[in-house]
Symmetry: C2
Subunit: 229 residues, 2 copies
């Protein structure tokens, strides 16, 4: 049952990677940032979430942030660890264990001037219109979706899908997009207000022909756990 004592080298069999499911709401659709895989790869012409290998001096978190920056020009983004995928054959090229993350943003944080090493192209896809995906990235995205859709109900992470100051309708829309169901705006306002997660900035948002809307912001950037919906 037990083989002779393995050497340290025998145990360094795996390559560590990280994959980041980056979410953003675009035109009322929850979307994910994907990169088109290089033509030379086994997964040529398929799409993958942003990610790459972890290097010796980096933690998984640091590696995830570096790949976001180098391959998609994204920095300063909310990010949390999701799950570690370690199936033996999840990468046909060899043993790769991937620590998956979820990231949230409200704008397109891709800057065009950065080195976009790694992908032929990056593009946002609505989560219900995903292209063919490389590796086990369908599973990783599904895991991220579940996490996000649950966590929005009992934490203040909605803020990371919104600008710093936002109107109540914008906030309500985030909840409607993620839960897939509409809410009565008076009841929604009451519930959210009762949590004390928001403060009125005193400012207003004017847009076109309608009545200006009050702008709110979240009181804390830290994750706060409290029943919301």
């Amino acid at each position: 049952m037990k083989s002779p004592k393995p050497t340290l080298e025998d145990l360094r069999f795996a390559v560590l990677a990280t994959d980041v499911v980056c979410f953003r709401i675009i035109e009322g659709k929850l979307s994910v940032l994907l990169g088109k895989v290089d033509a030379k790869s086994v997964f040529a012409s398929k799409w993958a979430v942003i990610g790459g290998l972890i290097s010796p001096k980096d933690t998984a978190d640091e590696a995830a942030r570096k790949h976001l920056k180098n391959k998609a020009g994204i920095s300063d983004i909310y990010m949390e660890q999701l799950y570690t995928f370690s199936n033996v054959d999840r990468d046909p090229r060899g043993r790769v264990v991937s620590v998956a993350y979820m990231a949230l943003t409200n704008i397109d944080p891709r800057s065009t001037d950065t080195n976009k090493a790694g992908y032929v192209e990056t593009k946002w896809f609505p989560v219900d219109e995903l292209p063919p995906l490389a590796y086990d990235h369908d599973e990783i995205i599904a895991y991220g979706l579940v996490r996000l859709r649950n966590k929005i109900r009992y934490t203040n992470i909605a803020q990371f899908l919104l600008p710093d100051r936002f109107t109540f309708s914008q906030l309500q829309s985030v909840y409607e997009v993620l839960t897939g169901e509409g809410v009565d705006k008076r009841n929604f306002r009451k519930k959210v207000m009762a949590t004390n997660l928001l403060k009125d900035t005193g400012e207003v948002h004017k847009e076109g022909i309608m009545r200006p809307a009050a702008l709110y912001s979240f009181t804390s950037k830290k994750i706060i756990i409290t029943e919301i919906l």
Copy 2:
């Protein structure tokens, strides 16, 4: 900024490990199974959660189960992944990335006849009376505690801390131990019954001089998400 292309060998720098926080309620106290670290180790005489290295043919899950079996004689236990700890210096001997798990049981599953390679001794410690811990295992246990204490409120995992058939008082006691607060038994019964997670087995539990109690069991071994408390 970017170094010349690293070779595959450069990327296989890390040893992969897994650590399992195994919980059990003993005499009204939530406890964790720890192993005393071998005298030759840097962490000699400290205690660690059950774990060890992942070998090339195993997923993290499989490795976790194997270590539980080989080092503590534990098999067939509920287990779920917690988090991956990848701090560069979490193990002074070198770069070790650990995929942490939480396991739950209701009995002492350690069989004495198995090969207890790995620890001088294994022992259950109440979570608020932990001995000095090796590595970052304090952090890993803390993470497991948070997960367990939250998840008991909205899933049926309490079942894994109980025998197959149990009385209502036993169930209530699990909740009281984990939440740290007492509950009115009439209200508790109403809430739990409303979830439809339990079925009455029709059997009764006799113990000593008191009135026999009806035995219940959970309707599903699968994790079900539903508001309980």
